[in-house]
Subunit: 257 residues, 2 copies
Amino acid sequence: MKKRRPKILLTNDDGISALGLAGLYEQIKEISDVTVVAPDSERSAVGHAITLSDPLRVWNFKKNGDFFGYAVNGTPADCVKIAYWALLDHKPDLLVSGINLGSNTGINVIYSGTVSAATEGTILRIPSFAISLTTYTDPDFTYAAKFAKKLAMEVWERGLPQGTFLNVNVPPVKEEEIQGVEITRQGRAIYKERFDKRIDPQKRVYYWLTGKKVELEEDGNVDDRAILNKKVSITPIHYDLTNYKYIHELRTWEITP
Amino acid sequence: MKKRRPKILLTNDDGISALGLAGLYEQIKEISDVTVVAPDSERSAVGHAITLSDPLRVWNFKKNGDFFGYAVNGTPADCVKIAYWALLDHKPDLLVSGINLGSNTGINVIYSGTVSAATEGTILRIPSFAISLTTYTDPDFTYAAKFAKKLAMEVWERGLPQGTFLNVNVPPVKEEEIQGVEITRQGRAIYKERFDKRIDPQKRVYYWLTGKKVELEEDGNVDDRAILNKKVSITPIHYDLTNYKYIHELRTWEITP
């Protein structure tokens, strides 16, 4: 058992005023010295974007008497970078990103701002996890926040290997209905997408992106399948994108300059 | 030898009027039926962002008599999605993203809009590669564009495994100085970053992100090292981010709900 309380950095992509972050804060503050550095507004589906062409600004943000944080006019990755390099006088022991409103499973992981914050923490060698509640309607973050607290203590005790973080998805059911915890892999189901083509009042064409997952895999070790089975899904993620297995094959191409 | 000419989709993150894209277009049109769908303005370091909260619009873009493309008010990933699902009446045989101004090596790969376009193509099961010229000053895209043409024909002949694409970086030297082609892995050098804190005329604080890579690896199979050795670097990349090796270890934690 480690003796001191961990220092935990919280962030998200739904913005500093999001209920999922507030729920997380309430639980995490019980076990740690907590700092919140989060986007000033919603930054969903920003992927691993960073802000290079505009200056970043930081505001103090207070809510409900005891919630204090720094709001940044940037992406989740920006928030982690500026917390680490400019705002904090210490290196956080842990980073928790969330609780996201909506799942971050399968190929969505690569679009997710919530996940990108955990990636950024991992690059900075801070043990990190992202946590999402897999619903958009009537979210109740209570159980997900409690699970985050428990997992934070586990990660604080055990650590994580360099370059790897955890991507956690929690099904939107009551605590007593949860069927367990599954260590999963990122699903490969693709999206059947559609662009809804519309005409604006000035008679100009515009498009809205819409789509749904198809070809969902049956394998219970897949993140989305665990959620359907009312289990908490935990996927270990790394940011080395090299396909090592294919390197040998590619060398046989003998490409010349 | 395949008989018909391939249909190739070009995009980038520097914007449709970028010189790197124009250079690529000049070469690729010689071997293919080419379509350009690219952001209307620079979208660097956008990561794998997609636009959900704003409508997308598309304009016809012409330049120099024969350069024609579609300009989109979105990210590189948006461009690939809208090309595939709304603008094109065929599935492209290949996607080439670039030529980016500046390297996309090491952890920069995860921030790169250029690379995200190739990821998106790969998700849509289009054989794809991203190509970058590793300089920001006095870029000469001539050789990189010629290499892109050659590699496009190779990929068109041989195909790529599902879920994998190529990330190509070309050193900024003359063709006769190129020392070869290296199949590489994504480097792990980290950035020593800094936020330059300034005061604006209204006495408010703002920050600029700045940084440089440190701890560059010596291994010649690393992308950045190949570039320093004046070789073209080709890294096979996949978007399944699961750390499979760590799944077993994580299961021993026996995390309960």
